[in-house]
Symmetry: C3
Subunit: 106 residues, 3 copies
């Protein structure tokens, strides 16, 4: 078994969760926040059998768009942060696949 | 060491957390939401030594009840979703046991 | 790759997140609560390459202070709980380092 932890953009989360449910994959949603932009995002958790990982990855690829976002002035502290980017690509999804010893349902 | 991630019904969470504390097991609570019923539930995290896993499982079994819940009409989109169940068993607990490389306290 | 899950005191979380970002480490923040004191704390998640774990640990050590806190009366249920401590050390950080099969960005 595997645990997928996927950090997705909040504008994609509803579509992604519905796509997981429609394909019979169970999912739990946790509210979270990015360390850089400080914007609200969504952390999804899916406990899966090994052979379902590829299906879950496909659903994330099909439903998570990358977008370009301006870095807010308060993150860069005004004009004097030339080493920080003015724009970043944000969204898509950041995905961790972790090994699980066991999944149990009570 | 192991990390237990347990998704429990919100009506059981207080009783389960108290039972963990009373048995000397440390626990952290995260608010979460189910992908299917969209109801608020609770995700518990416990960092444990290997030999404490059985005790933690016993506490979850003793304190998490399964209940039957109607699937809300807005989940099934009204009358026309015969392939979706009208009732589901909900609660009890969904438990993931993950291997940990190390636990450190600063 | 590794996933670091660190539970930090809410008064340290901003400083720690800024220190991670300044060192180029990506981080996601989740609101959480302790099982014993029931106080709000912060759970941080970092997906890292193996060789970045030591740097992340150093940042947690430098930015998470231990403090002594009174155990609130409502936790000990009034005067009659002599087996529970009146004061606990709280904060610093509790850190789990988990193995990851793969990290993917979409
Ligand atoms: N130090 C830095 N310098 C320059 N640009 C930086 C940066 N840190 C982040 N960015 C950029 O800003 C976007 C938003 O990052 P944020 O930390 O708010 O929100 C992040 C964070 O919550 C999470 N995340 C990404 N990688 C992570 C990792 N390795 N571990 C934990 N969380 C991660 O996913 C969200 C979206 O990440 P994504 O890569 O799509 O998009 C990132 C990335 O393009
Ligand atoms: N596609 C589907 N078709 C028919 N019935 C479905 C279904 N998805 C879920 N259900 C049913 O609805 C209940 C609530 O699911 P929900 O996703 O809201 O809330 C779930 C979800 O937050 C979490 N969960 C369960 N299995 C999971 C997994 N493998 N990975 C991640 N989260 C899981 O635990 C909560 C309770 O799960 P539990 O199994 O007790 O109870 C489930 C299950 O009986
Ligand atoms: N049964 C018990 N008997 C006596 N004293 C107890 C106790 N449980 C906790 N404490 C003390 O109370 C402090 C706050 O615990 P709390 O559970 O609210 O908040 C905890 C909890 O959210 C989390 N945590 C610590 N160890 C954990 C573990 N093994 N698994 C999951 N979460 C853990 O980190 C927070 C801070 O922990 P920290 O060790 O710095 O500080 C702890 C510890 O000094």
């Amino acid at each position: 078994s595997k645990l997928i932890i996927a950090i997705v953009h909040r504008d994609d989360s509803r579509r992604v969760v519905n796509a997981f449910q429609a394909s019979g994959l169970r999912v739990t949603e946790l509210g979270s926040q990015g360390g850089f932009l400080r914007a609200r995002n969504v952390t999804l958790m899916l406990g899966l059998e090994d052979e379902q990982v590829a299906k879950a990855m496909g659903i994330l690829e099909a439903n998570c768009r990358t977008r370009t976002e301006q870095v807010p002035v308060d993150v860069t502290g005004g004009l004097d942060a030339p080493w920080l980017p003015a724009e970043v690509t944000h969204g898509g999804a950041t995905i961790f696949v972790l090994p699980i010893d066991q999944i149990r349902r009570i």
